[in-house]
């Protein structure tokens, strides 16, 4: 690559995290460490019913017997699970009727992130369930949703107000014993979002949760449960940014989606946790279990993710295609720079007849980062006529980074069709030259090319989110290469 491009790439690599500020809100912390008492503490703090405490404790006991998974292509020092707070709540717990009453500091934080609630409200169509550290602060548009019979609230409220629904579905998609981090989450999850769309309802607006890790040394363990009943439709947005911290913060979320007959769920994520500085110091460890269950016939679950943050990303949003003719989709852009490491991908498990899945994964590596796609497509014996197409591309910016692909493909049905393809390359000098020739400077040229490369995925995002994601990519690659 030319000197020019090299310079730009260096700038990219050296770009500091723009969202690294700390909001000084007094928080209430659980004592450091993890044992049954911690679990009880969390449960008591949240005034949880007995059954949920028991559920947590059982998860915790299971977790004690489990070992951390090491199969990811990730290198990090051993995590001391005793050296973290497992609960952190803003002390001034606001009971607000309007945004004006909210803590001004808090509002400022969101403004800096570019998602001021007013803005969001004004744009209309987006109801925000804000999770600040662990506690949901404000849920907007409740009334509008209520009219349609849609339940959209924080997880804790759901436990109080809709215990039957929570009890029926909690842990059915991601069981407590699923994996080490899911078990940990099940034991100590703090809060999260809950949503239920009744039969035949098309949710009139995009639902959104903005996650943010704030207090130092807090692990964040949110738990999201979305249920789309027969023939309903919902699009859900999740955005994450975390302030700059030197110590690594642990984040282990669980997201469960259930789609009944003819229902459709679309889950979009923009993840921008603090990635650590250019020397690989600090950053969020993101170990997330996300899974959707297409339970009914012709149901559909679609995951879209733009991952630009976290020092470590370990995340495999998956679909279990149980209903006949159900559809699973996974669209992903993962960008790593500095010393970031991402091991991400999806699992598509085809069980029902005529099930279909599509995987499009675009990885971009820069600096000294490593970016891996790891995926599983499994066609069960009964998945007659199942169909999968996977496309996994990697783009390398710089000669010290790595791009890897580990697809597992298993077929046990002769009528199924599975296709997988992957490519790895850098931006061609001829492409840059072509754009330079037309008066576009190298920086913009790279930005254009990267944007075009990701277009297939970005197109899947709802409009407001796509704009944000594009901005994030540009900022992340900033020097900016884009």
């Amino acid at each position: 690559m030319s000197q020019d491009t090299d310079d730009i790439l260096r700038e990219v690599t050296e770009k500091e995290y723009a969202y690294g500020f700390v909001t000084n809100i007094e928080s209430e912390l659980a004592p450091k460490g993890l044992n049954e008492d911690t679990v009880r503490f969390i449960s008591t703090k949240k005034n949880e019913p007995e059954w949920l405490l028991e559920w947590r404790l059982e998860a915790f006991r299971g977790w004690l017997k489990m070992t951390e998974p090491t199969w990811g292509l990730l290198k990090y020092p051993a995590i001391d699970f005793q050296d973290a707070h497992y609960y952190s709540a803003p002390k001034k717990k606001p009971q607000l009727n309007s945004l004006d009453e909210a803590d001004p500091e808090l509002i400022k934080t969101f403004e800096k992130l570019g998602i001021s609630l007013q803005e969001q409200k004004r744009l209309a169509g987006v109801a925000v369930d804000v999770v600040f550290d662990s506690v949901s602060v404000k849920t907007t548009f409740q009334a509008t949703l209520k009219e349609k019979g849609i339940i959209f609230c924080s997880f804790s409220d759901a436990v109080k107000e809709h215990p039957d629904l929570v009890r029926k579905y909690l842990g059915t998609v991601v069981p407590r014993t699923d994996n080490f981090y899911a078990a940990l989450n099940s034991a100590v999850f703090s809060d999260g979002s809950f949503c239920y769309i009744p039969p035949g309802v098309r949710c009139p607006m995009e639902l959104s949760t903005y996650f943010r890790i704030n207090s130092a040394n807090t692990g964040q363990f949110e738990r999201t449960l979305l249920i789309a009943d027969e023939g309903s439709y919902e699009s859900y947005l999740e955005g994450c940014t975390a302030p700059m911290r030197d110590e690594n913060q642990l984040h282990a979320a669980v997201v469960e989606l259930v789609a009944m007959k003819d229902a459709e769920l679309k889950y979009s994520t923009v993840q921008n946790w603090y990635p650590g500085d250019e020397n690989g110091v600090g950053g969020v460890y993101n170990f997330v279990t996300k899974r959707g269950l297409c339970l009914g016939e012709r149901s559909k679950i679609s995951w879209t993710q733009v991952e630009t943050g976290s020092a470590i990303t370990w995340k495999y949003p998956s679909c279990v295609l149980k209903g006949d003719h159900s559809i699973g989709e996974f669209y992903s852009v993962a960008l790593t720079k500095h010393h970031q490491q991402a091991d991400t991908g999806t699992k598509m498990t085809h069980i029902g007849k005529g099930t279909k899945s599509t995987i499009v994964s675009k990885g971009i590596s820069a600096g000294r980062s490593n970016n891996s796609y790891r995926g599983l497509v499994k066609i069960g014996r009964g998945a007659k006529g199942a169909r999968n197409f996977s496309q996994c591309d990697s783009l390398l910016l710089g000669d010290r980074c790595g791009a890897h692909t580990f697809p597992y493909i298993e077929s046990e049905n002769p009528s199924a069709m599975v296709e997988h393809e992957a490519t790895t390359s850098k931006i061609g000098e001829d492409q840059i030259f072509y754009l330079n020739q037309r008066g576009i400077e190298t920086e913009k040229a790279v930005s254009l090319i990267v944007n075009g490369y990701c277009k297939e995925v970005l197109n899947q995002l709802p409009m407001e989110f796509a704009v944000e994601a594009q901005k994030l990519l540009a900022v992340s690659l900033e020097g900016s290469v884009g």
């Binding site: 199969w71 000669d399 890897h404 697809p407 493909i409 002769p414 992957a422």
Partner: protein, 422 residues
């Protein structure tokens, strides 16, 4: 440590046969065998291939003197080398002394010779590999192929490995060395005479010198055959060229590991494979291509049709080291499933640490093209015939990569005969 055989060690069934070998590095390898566990479903490299049962029975030492009837000679000139249960049989082989600058012989007789001492054991690192360690601990025998600088071997070498009845542990160990600019072509055929309970565990090391060319054609059609586990360790120097085509038509449990290091600029590796599986044949092809230096190329194409209760496994890894710029690597695996009990597990991997590369892989699992079938049937071709034609066409591009026309024609006829039975 040697005396620690306990009743609970699952390897107890093979350990007695591995003691006391005088081959280089045998003692160290034996210690390795003791230390390594038997791979199970949690061992990533053996995720889809169960080998535990191979250790559930006692084995006998291989019988090198067994009487065998040799198959008809190939319909073109070759130098034939015969191994029975891993033992070299001069009486059944052609005259091997002839061409200048060429050594073909039993490896056992050459263990103290310079080039053997230099290269033996350097390309089959034991690491976590129990079977490689077992082989290194007590090889039966094998073939040495040494082609000196600039020599072109005048005709293909046809190596026949026959396994006969009896629960034998057979551990062939080959060492092929091609010096600068040398060229050789080797056909390796595995046959079995009613030996379903034996275990053939081979290791072959190939050193391909600067600008040298080595082509290997491996044919596995062991009807009622033993478990056949093999490891090929290859190093290709600058501008060297290594190719292997592996054809699996029959067998019980077949595992082929091909591990290639492209160690000099402009080295090239080509790996091709065909597997046609029915009955309960389990065939697992594992390949690893290490692009260690810049400007190397590799090309990999594996195709299989899996019918009956067959299982096809493919795991290909392309590893591009940091600074191995201008690497070009291509990898493809295509499968057709016929039959409700057939299974395919495939995992094509790329691990890349250099940026100026063009690497791609693709893999497919599917069925015979319905439209193609309909087209043929609408033109009066019977369904069975139409299926055979499509299956034949599916395999064509792998066969076309075989440069030796005589061998290709012969192989095509074997493949067509096998297709009749699917």
């Amino acid at each position: 440590m040697m005396s620690t055989i306990t009743a609970t060690d699952p390897k107890a069934s093979v350990l007695p046969l591995l003691e006391g070998s005088i081959w280089p590095g045998a003692a160290e390898a034996l210690a390795h065998v003791y230390a390594l566990p038997v791979p199970n479903s949690r061992t990533e490299a053996w995720k889809y291939t169960r080998v535990g049962r191979l250790f559930n029975q006692p084995y006998a030492t291989s019988n090198g003197k067994a009487n065998v009837a040799l198959p008809a000679r190939l319909p073109f000139p070759v130098t034939r080398v015969v191994f029975v249960n891993g033992n070299f049989r001069a009486d059944l082989s052609d005259e091997l002394k002839g061409q200048k600058g060429l050594v073909i012989d039993s490896l056992k007789n050459h263990l103290t010779h310079g080039p053997v001492k230099e290269h033996y054991g350097t390309l089959a690192a034991m690491e976590e590999r129990l079977f490689t360690a077992m082989n290194t601990a007590a090889p039966t025998d094998g073939m040495i192929l040494l082609v000196t600088k600039g020599v072109r071997v005048d005709k293909p070498i046809h190596v026949i490995h026959i396994t006969t009845a009896g629960r034998q542990l057979v551990q062939p160990r080959d060492l092929f060395m091609l010096q600068e600019g040398a060229e050789a072509e080797v056909i390796i055929e595995h046959l079995a005479l009613d030996a379903p309970e034996s275990l053939v565990n081979s290791v072959r090391e190939c050193v391909v010198g600067d600008g040298a060319r080595l082509s290997i054609h491996k044919l596995q059609h062991e009807v009622n055959g033993p478990a056949n586990i093999s490891f090929e360790g290859v190093r290709v120097a600058a501008k060297g060229h290594y190719s292997i085509s592996t054809t699996t038509l029959d067998g019980a449990l077949v595992r082929n590991d091909v591990n290639v290091a492209l160690a000099g600029p402009e080295a090239h590796a080509e790996l091709n494979g065909v597997y046609l599986l029915n009955g309960s044949t389990h065939c697992d092809n594992h390949t690893y291509i290490g692009h260690d230096v810049p400007d190397c190329t590799s090309d990999e194409l594996y195709k299989g049709i899996v019918a009956g209760k067959g299982t096809g496994v493919f795991n290909g890894k392309v590893y591009v080291k940091q600074d191995a710029q201008r690497t070009r690597a291509y990898q493809s695996n295509a499968n057709i499933l016929l039959g409700d009990d057939a299974k395919v597990y495939t995992k094509p991997e790329l691990e890349i640490y250099a940026d100026d590369v063009k690497c791609s892989h693709g893999c497919t699992i599917g069925r015979l093209d319905e439209k193609g079938l309909f087209y043929l049937r609408s033109r009066g071709v019977s369904e069975a015939e139409a299926r055979r034609m499509l299956a034949h066409a599916f395999m064509t591009d792998v066969l076309e990569r075989i440069a030796n026309e005589d061998w290709r024609t012969h192989l095509a006829s074997l493949i067509d005969a096998k297709l009749e039975t699917l």
